[in-house]
Each structure stands twice: as structure tokens, then as C-alpha cells.
């Protein structure tokens, strides 16, 4: 989230799409309701189903799953056509005025792809996706031997009239997204779309900047083969309307789990290191080469300023290596650069299972992660585990992954005894038995305390991992082995190495001085061994260690900041600066410089976040300025300090995205129609698909003619609460939501069993026949959508009582992967529906 949960109360307009916060984040959704109650804010719900969010929204549009870019592109078109844009914001805080290289081509002109598409490799040469250098071409000549970079000085046109400026390209690109074509693609009638567009953009009526609108989404957007681009379209719309950085504005991802924000920050993912640092690749010959690639340089119009905060990447990285390897990481050994694995390709979720399926991955450790149920194509994942040598599962309940060898699929195939996988299942600790910090969706780190001891023989998760690691390290010490250095040299100097105290780990994350430090400007000194006050102190000379630069400031000399419990909110804007600690630097709303006009005055004086104080020559306010505090407004430093441009990217240049600098609408991998914009390019051209026996795709011709989406219920949490008698009482069995009209046609009555089959698997559950889903006219053809909640599997209260078919909904979904976030597409696929 750019903003935060409580901040939603400041909004005037909400577009909730690709998410269902009333059901999945009810306690956060209270602040959306609060905005309705206290500000008479309006709420638009766009969803394939009429959800409980829709029930309290002021407007509902039923959209075909996976067509969000068409809808949002249409909103951009509407805003531009009707001049409902934030002109001053757009010119000064985004790259709308930047001029793009003249050889850049839009999909409308290039057969449905952007310029540079390589038909054989299914990838783009992104050279043309770049700004024109000031002074004309030639000033942007690439240095021989290095990939093209952004020009240091960008050509621009503040009148936005240059036909090659970002704004004009944007206008041209989305002028194709007319209400008529949106109706044919999304199934939302033209009048309804126009009503929604009018309502959402009404906050910028007559150029008024006082109001703020927010866009709220969740995995309804990410679970697509173009998920990143949906979110980008939303971000662009918000930049166009001047909503980013504002109280009650922003682009707000509602993360679905207590600490996946933290897990992402901490880089529990193949392609990053803690704090969103890029992993080294085989192409990085040395630490310096890696840093050169990973560190951006400022790229902006000459009179403007850009802080380009990622210019400090080497400081963050060296400090990380010092935290990992301590004294073993020295300037002489390139900060132990060789210790880091070099990542040469995509090792993400679906590849991981594919690699196991194909024999590369032999062992798996799954802690609190029900792999076969959570990802798409469960059957393939079960088949993959059959081929693994060993599997270690750390869990608190019996889960589908640890019992894959007893799954109905295996029983049906009768090959349990042939499965050679050794499975260890280790009893872990529940949340109430552990302390530590969670990072919520609003980036707030909140410390929790342990209330009860672990039951039975359960052990704390950190103790289990520590014990495994220390035993491996002992084996390498005793026996030697392949490249033992990183294992032997990893810092593990916790007071109780067998079960590290998490507060010590948080201290390591925050970082400390390894030598006496002094700030040359303020003369503030920090002694060696002291906790750092924040990431501004990090150094790339080995004098600081920090496990995660964005968490620097969370555990300072003043103590554990994440455990702070001051509930006060002096500004009454939901900032709560003394509650827990928020990254970065305890800022609650990101890019908050953009909440002020160019002079530094808040757009809305009644919702002041930060402002320029001429007297003190500083940015001050109710929140921590997300900005260089002493940068004068007249210096025109961009508010988006993490971008080399300093401004928001309406056009995302070069390698920022794999599939285009502007989002373009493509159909989901399985869709009922061809792409109406360009029939030859139905799908995202750079999407990853696999070609194994379990990777099948269905078409309408084969009878897969119903669009299916999966969803969560408010009564259940993932595959977890099926073990909880209270939640099982609330919703005892799985079901399939379908339109009453469709049920009538198929002769299905509510409560009767229905079989859903995709090209990959099938699923049987009772029908929930409802008026909340209606048939849709997709390109003139009547099309139905169904929705399936995914909370059941083969182990749980209802499952053990034989009340469900004991199969996984994700047996239906497929594994086409978004090329940017590597998130698979498991919403909006095609199925058949039959009465059982």
C-alpha cells in the first residue's frame, strides 16, 4: 500500500477492483466505511461477482475476470477526453512531459505489440522504450559494450503538445479504449461504464485538486498473466488524477496474509535480496559490476532535480553482506560476492514446481506453506512431489502438501507404494506461541508477544531452522564438502544459536555501526557496536552492517521501535506515528511530497500531510516527509525519489517491465474470445507457459466455455481455518457460485452437486445459485462466469467427516506466468459446468 489502512478514512472516492476487502480485510475495510460515514465518500466495486464489498458500494459493475486493463484503460481515456486530470501534478510530478524516442511504436501501429518484439524469442528489445535525450538524438548514444541506459538529461515539453511526449502517446494509446469496445470485452454495458467513469473522475471536475480518490486491489489483479500491468494501469490513472502521495489516495494493494509484506521485504523470493536489492547474475563479473548494473543514475529534464535514492544501492548492499558474513566480507574479497548464488534465470514459484517435476529439484523445505494447494495446477505439483527425494514440512496442522502421498489423486492412481519421497513433518509453533514482528499491508512493523508455550513436542520455527542449519554447518565442518565457505562464515552469533531470540534478529536487521561513525553535517556520533538510527547512516566501506536497509530504524538505541504502543494521532489523519514502526523511516504515506503543489502547499489545506516551511527551510508535517527535507520547492526535486526520474512513471522506460512501457490489454491465456484490439495477439506475447503433460490449456471449441474465478470467503482463511470448528460452522462445505439464469439452463438447483472441469482437472461441490452473478454479453455472445471459494482440500474437519469431494480447486487452474512479477494466472480460466 502506498498509503495505509487508517488513511482510507481520508478518501472521497474509492475504486475497489481485483479485491474484495469487505470479505478479506474486514477490519481494514472499516476505514473505507468510515470515509463513507464521515465524508460521504463514494465507492465503486468492480468484480466478476457481486460481493459483500459490492453490497455496501454505491455502484457495482460486473466485469469479466481478466479484463481489468480494458476497464482501467477506458477510465484513462475518459479522464483525458473529459479533461478530468490533474494538470499541474501531471506536468511536474510525472514523466508526462518527457519526450520518447521517435522510433518507439505503440501496439496499434505494430500489430498488437510494442516496437522491438522478437517473434522467435517471445521477448522485447527495449531500446526504443526510452526518453529522448535533451538536445536531440545522439546525446543519448549508448556507451559501447553496456546496455542502453536512461539519458541523464531528458527532452521534455511542459505544454504536453509534442506528439512524442508521454502524455500524447498515452492519449493516443488509450483513445482506442472506447466505451463500446470496453462493453464488448468486459461485459460492462456502455452506460454503466460511463456512469462509473463519470463517478470516479468526478473528483477532478473542473481541475479541482482538493478531493482524493483511492484505488484498492488485491490478488484479483495479481493472479493474471498480465497482473503487473493491471496494477500499472491503476497507478497511471492515479498519477493522471494526481492521487498518489495524497491522504485518501494512492494505489493500495491489500496483501492477503499477515506477513507476506514482510516476506517480500525480506526477500523470501528468488529474484531479490532483503530490501528489494537486485540479486547478482552470472553477468556480474564482480561486486562492482553488480553494483553498476543495480544502481540507477538520475534521468530528468535539466532544470529539475532528482534525488535518485537508489543511487545509494552499494551502501545498502555492502551493509547487507556485512550482516550476512561479518568479518568474512571484506573489501579485499569483494564483500564475499562469491558467496551469493548467481541467479541466471526464472526460479519463481511455477518454475520451482516445474523443475521438481522435471527432476532438478530433489529436496524441498516447506514451512507454513501448503504448496500443492496454494499455487495453480495442484495435480502437477502433487506429481512433482512424487519425484522429489525428500520433503520437509513444518506445520501446525496436517496439510495437503505433507500428505500429498495420501491425496485422493494418488489413491485414485493407486501408486502410493511406488512413491519414493521421504517426508518429514515437524510440528511448529502457532502464532500465539511466538514473538517477532509482522509487517502489515500498510508497511507497519508490529511486534507481537508470545502468550502460551508450545504444546506437546512442538518447537519454535526459528529453533527448527537454526537447528537444521547448525547441523548442516557441523557436517561441513567435520566432513568438508562443496564450497563450504558461505555456510561456515555465515554470522550466527545469537545468544542462543539453537533458538535465536527474534529481538536479536531484529537488531541485526536494523543494523549497527562496526566502527565509530560521525555525520559530517551534524557531528552526531555513533560508537562502534551501537544500533543505527536509520538507513541514512549506511556506508559502503564496511563500517556498517544492516540485514535489511528498509528496516533500518526499527530497532535503534532507543529500543524496539516496532513494539511502540502510543495510539495517539495528533493530526487525526490516521498517521499514528508512535504506533509500531513503518518502513521506510516511519513514513506512513509514501511519496507524500506529492500531496503539495509545486510551491510546497498542500493541495487540500484541510488534509495537510507535509508542507514546506520557509522559515526553517525544511519540509515538515504530520507525517515523515518522503523527501529530501531541505530541498527547496524551487529546486523542483521530483517527489518520487526512488525513481531515477524523480517523477512518477506514466511511461515505464527500458527494462522496467517485460511486456511494454504502457499496459496493453491482452486476453487471459484461456479466454472465450480473441483479443478485440488485435486478433492475432490474443495473449500477453511474453508470457511464460510450460509444456509438460500436466500443462494443458482448454478452449471454447473443446467445450470449456465458462469463465471461472477463484475467491476467498470472509469466514475462512486459506487452507487453515478448515481445522477450526468455529469457522467450519460458519461455512461448512465448499460450493460453486453461479448465476441463477445459468443454473436454470443446466437444470441445477441450489445445493445440488456440480462438476467443474478444466483442461487440467475437475472439482465437485454444491451449487450456490444466486442473483449476484448475471450472464454477460461478451462480444455479442452470452457468456457465464462462475466463482469458486478455494478453502477446502483433503485434510480438515469437513474433509475428515467426508463432507467434501476432497479435491483442490487449484487442480483447475493453470500455470501461465506474469513476466514481471512471476505470479501465475489462476483467475479467469475456462471450465465446463455439468450437473452431477
Amino acid at each position: 500500500m502506498t498509503n495505509g489502512w487508517v488513511d482510507m478514512k481520508n478518501t472521497d472516492m474509492m475504486l475497489i477492483m481485483g479485491g474484495n476487502p469487505a470479505e478479506n480485510h474486514p477490519c481494514g475495510f472499516k476505514w473505507a466505511i468510515e470515509a463513507k460515514r464521515t465524508r460521504s465518500a463514494k465507492m465503486i466495486s468492480v468484480d466478476p461477482r457481486f460481493t459483500r464489498t459490492s453490497s455496501v458500494a454505491d455502484m457495482f459493475c460486473q466485469i469479466r475476470a481478466g479484463t481489468d486493463i480494458a476497464f482501467l484503460g477506458g477510465l484513462i481515456n475518459y479522464a483525458i477526453e473529459n479533461n478530468r486530470i490533474a494538470k499541474e501534478y501531471l506536468v511536474n510530478y510525472t514523466n508526462a512531459a518527457f519526450v520518447i524516442k521517435s522510433d518507439f511504436k505503440l501496439p496499434a501501429d505494430t500489430d498488437g505489440v510494442f516496437s522491438g518484439f522478437d517473434e522467435t524469442k517471445f521477448s522485447y528489445d527495449k531500446t526504443t522504450w526510452n526518453y529522448d535525450a535533451a538536445g536531440g538524438p545522439g546525446h543519448n548514444a549508448a556507451v559501447a559494450g553496456t546496455p542502453p541506459g536512461l539519458p541523464g538529461s531528458v527532452d521534455y515539453d511542459l505544454t504536453l503538445q509534442n506528439p512524442n511526449c508521454v502524455f500524447q502517446l498515452l492519449k493516443k494509446h488509450y483513445s482506442r479504449y472506447t466505451p463500446e469496445i470496453i462493453e464488448r470485452i468486459t461485459g460492462i454495458p456502455k452506460e454503466q461504464f460511463l456512469k462509473a467513469a463519470e463517478l470516479y473522475t468526478s473528483i477532478r471536475k473542473d481541475g479541482d485538486m482538493k478531493k482524493a480518490g483511492t484505488i484498492i486491489y488485491a490478488v484479483g489483479w495479481t493472479h493474471h498473466s498480465f497482473g503487473t500491468q493491471i496494477i500499472r494501469t491503476a497507478a497511471m490513472l492515479q498519477l493522471l488524477l494526481g492521487n498518489v502521495g495524497r491522504a485518501g489516495g494512492g494505489v493500495n494493494a491489500l496483501r492477503g496474509h499477515s506477513n507476506i509484506q514482510g516476506a517480500t521485504d525480506m526477500a523470501g523470493l528468488f529474484d531479490t535480496l532483503p530490501g528489494y536489492l537486485k540479486v547478482p547474475t552470472p553477468g556480474d563479473a564482480s561486486f562492482d559490476a553488480w553494483m553498476k548494473r543495480a544502481t540507477p543514475t538520475a534521468s530528468k529534464p535539466a532544470p529539475w532535480d532528482s534525488w535518485n535514492y537508489y543511487g545509494n544501492t552499494s551502501k545498502f548492499t555492502v551493509s547487507l553482506m556485512k550482516a550476512f558474513y561479518g568479518d568474512a566480507a571484506t573489501k579485499q574479497n569483494d564483500w564475499a560476492f562469491d558467496y551469493l548464488p548467481k541467479v541466471d534465470r526464472d526460479y519463481s514459484w511455477t518454475n520451482l514446481w516445474n523443475d521438481m517435476y522435471n527432476g532438478t529439484v530433489k529436496g524441498m523445505l516447506a514451512f507454513g506453506m501448503n504448496g500443492v494447494a496454494i499455487g495453480p495446477d495442484s495435480n502437477k505439483n502433487i506429481d512433482a512431489l512424487k519425484k522429489a527425494e525428500w520433503l520437509v514440512v513444518g506445520e501446525i496442522y496436517q496439510d495437503e502438501t505433507s500428505e500429498f502421498w495420501k491425496s485422493p489423486r494418488v489413491i485414485a492412481q493407486g501408486d502410493m507404494k511406488q512413491i519414493q519421497t521421504t517426508v518429514y513433518r515437524l510440528p511448529c509453533a502457532g502464532f500465539a506461541e511466538k514473538d517477532g514482528s509482522f509487517t502489515n499491508s500498510a508497511r507497519w512493523l508490529l511486534w507481537k508477544n508470545a502468550a502460551v508455550p508450545t504444546p506437546g513436542d512442538c518447537r519454535l520455527d526459528q529453533a527448527i531452522v537454526a537447528q537444521i542449519f547448525l547441523k548442516v554447518r557441523d557436517l561441513y565442518k567435520k566432513e568438508g564438502g562443496k564450497f563450504p565457505d558461505p555456510i561456515l562464515n555465515l554470522t550466527w552469533a545469537y545468544t542462543t544459536p539453537q533458538s535465536p531470540a527474534l529481538s536479536e534478529v531484529l537488531k541485526e536487521l536494523n543494523g549497527k555501526a562496526l566502527a565509530d561513525l560521525e555525520d559530517p553535517a551534524t557531528k552526531v556520533q555513533i560508537k562502534a557496536g551501537q544500533q543505527l538510527p536509520g538507513f541514512a547512516w549506511l556506508k559502503d566501506d564496511g563500517t556498517t552492517a544492516c540485514g535489511n536497509w528498509i528496516y533500518s530504524g526499527s530497532f535503534t538505541e532507543a529500543g524496539n521501535q516496532t513494539a511502540r504502543r502510543d495510539p495517539s494521532d495528533p493530526s487525526n489523519m490516521g498517521v499514528h506515528p508512535g504506533w509500531g514502526w513503518s518502513w521506510p523511516a516511519n513514513r506512513r504515506v509514501l511519496y507524500n511530497r506529492a500531496s503539495c503543489d509545486v510551491e510546497g502547499k498542500p493541495w487540500d489545506p484541510s488534509r495537510k500531510q507535509i508542507w514546506w516551511n520557509e522559515g526553517s527551510g525544511k519540509w515538515v508535517g504530520n507525517d515523515v516527509p518522503d523527501f529530501k527535507v531541505d530541498s527547496k520547492p524551487k529546486d523542483h526535486m521530483g517527489p518520487f525519489i526512488m525513481n531515477p526520474e524523480g517523477v512518477g512513471r506514466i511511461f515505464a522506460p527500458l527494462a522496467a517491465f517485460a511486456d511494454g512501457p504502457f499496459p496493453e490489454f491482452y486476453e487471459p491465456i484461456e479466454s472465450p474470445i480473441d483479443n478485440l484490439f488485435h486478433a492475432g495477439r490474443t495473449h500477453n506475447p511474453v508470457v511464460t507457459k510450460f509444456k509438460d503433460a500436466d500443462d494443458k490449456f482448454g478452449t471454447v471449441k473443446e467445450g470449456f466455455n465458462v469463465v471461472c474465478t477463484t475467491f476467498r470467503l470472509t469466514e475462512h482463511y486459506h487452507y487453515w481455518t478448515k481445522n477450526n470448528p468455529m469457522n467450519v460452522q460458519l461455512v461448512p462445505e465448499p460450493f460453486i457460485e453461479m448465476a441463477a439464469e445459468m443454473a436454470d439452463e443446466l437444470g441445477i438447483r441450489g445445493g445440488e452437486h456440480v462438476k467443474i472441469s478444466s483442461a487440467r482437472g475437475d472439482y465437485i461441490a454444491k451449487a450456490m445459485v444466486t442473483k449476484r452473478i448475471k450472464s454477460m454479453m461478451i462480444d455479442g455472445k452470452k457468456t457465464y462466469q462462475i466463482g469458486i471459494p478455494f478453502h477446502w482440500g483433503y485434510r480438515g474437519i469437513a474433509e475428515d467427516e467426508g463432507k467434501t469431494a476432497r479435491t483442490l480447486v487449484n487442480a483447475l487452474s493453470h500455470t501461465a506466468v506474469d513476466p514481471n512479477a512471476h505470479t501465475p494466472e489462476f483467475k479467469g480460466f475456462l471450465v465446463k459446468v455439468e450437473k452431477v
Binding site: 472499516k30 552470472p282 523445505l365 516447506a366 507454513g368 521421504t422 513436542d457
Partner: protein, 193 residues
């Protein structure tokens, strides 16, 4: 004080029906209520483990944390001070007591051997020793020190870690540290899906 049914009967038989006919009044001015079950329970502030709203919760356990008591959860409720949830909880958060006290919890290490048709119990020591040995063997068998071009890559592609959504930041960090030290690249998390 509360008059119980027994008092009432006693009174009736002693006092006799005649008195009763004229309606004697044993009902007190106050009625007895259930005692507040959390009145003297210990409070522990925690965070709900479900979605990313991160609601503050208070876990009430019996006992005053004296040495001779094993705390038993009697109730879980929202933390009214928490700025986000202000004491509220959703139907999942409100049932956390059932998660903590769940009788379906796994309580001992188990192993399923190749070709096995059921779980076998295993001691922690044996389990951890076997796991460590397997990690080492798998790593030593397939560790890639240099790629086809001769570039040092120090990568381990044969072991994967998939991490959960309810792991603390600190746990995640320990895992990233340990896994990257082993050279693991198949490192993924709920965050992806």
C-alpha cells in the same frame, strides 16, 4: 444475595402455603450474572496471524503468570488501542482461541518413508540429523560452482525452500540467510502467489 431454588423451597415448606399465597418476595433487587471470565486473566498483546491488516489482539490466559501455572487461553479479543482495528476483529480473528487450542494440532515429529503408507513417529534428534544429512548430500551432489561459460555462480538448484505467510520478519531473515548461504535459488514464498 441471590435466593436459590432450594431456599425458595425451604421457605415454602417452613413458612407454609398460606404465607406464600399472599406472595412473599424472595426476588432480590439484583440478578446474578455470569462472572466476567477475563476479570483476572493475564493479557498478552499479539497480532492476528491471518490477513495483512495486522489487527492487534489480546490473548487472555488464566493465571497471573506465576511460576506454577501453565497459561491456558480463555479468550481472544481485539486490542482497542490498535489504530487499525481499534478492538474489532473479523470472523477469523474472533475465533483465534480455537486456533490456539485446536485439538487437530500436530504435536510430534513424524516421517513417511519411501513406499510408506503411513506416518511413523521419529525423535527430533533423528529427524534433524536425517534432514541435515540429506541437505548436505543433495547439495554436495549437485552444487554448481561454475556455469557452462566458466563463470563462478555458486548456485544450488536442487533444494528449494517455500516459505509461509505467517512467518515473522525475523524468521524470514534467518531463512534467507541460511538458504542463500547454502546457495539455494529456488527460494519462494507465499508472497509470490
Amino acid at each position: 444475595m441471590q435466593a436459590t431454588r432450594r431456599d425458595f423451597l425451604k421457605f415454602t415448606t417452613i413458612g407454609g402455603a398460606a404465607a406464600a399465597i399472599f406472595g412473599f418476595d424472595l426476588q432480590p433487587a439484583y440478578a446474578q450474572l455470569r462472572v466476567l471470565k477475563i476479570a483476572r486473566a493475564s493479557e498478552t498483546r499479539s497480532t492476528c496471524p491471518y490477513c495483512a491488516v495486522g489487527c492487534g489482539t489480546i490473548i487472555y490466559t488464566i493465571g497471573d503468570k506465576a511460576k506454577n501455572v501453565t497459561p491456558q487461553v480463555v479468550h481472544v479479543e481485539g486490542d482497542p488501542d490498535h489504530p487499525t482495528n481499534r478492538g474489532t476483529l473479523c470472523p477469523k480473528g474472533a475465533s483465534l482461541e480455537q486456533d490456539i487450542l485446536n485439538d487437530r494440532r500436530l504435536l510430534k515429529p513424524q516421517v513417511r518413508r519411501p513406499g510408506g503408507t503411513q506416518w511413523e513417529d521419529i525423535s527430533w534428534d533423528d529427524a534433524l540429523n536425517e534432514i541435515a544429512a540429506r541437505i548436505k548430500k543433495t547439495r554436495d551432489d549437485s552444487f554448481i560452482e561454475k556455469d557452462a561459460k566458466g563463470v563462478t555462480v555458486n548456485r544450488l538448484e536442487s533444494i528449494s525452500w517455500i516459505g509461509g505467510c505467517t512467518d515473522t520478519n525475523e524468521f524470514n531473515y534467518l531463512v534467507v540467510k541460511a538458504m542463500r548461504a547454502l546457495g539455494v535459488v529456488h527460494l519462494e514464498n507465499q508472497a509470490r502467489v
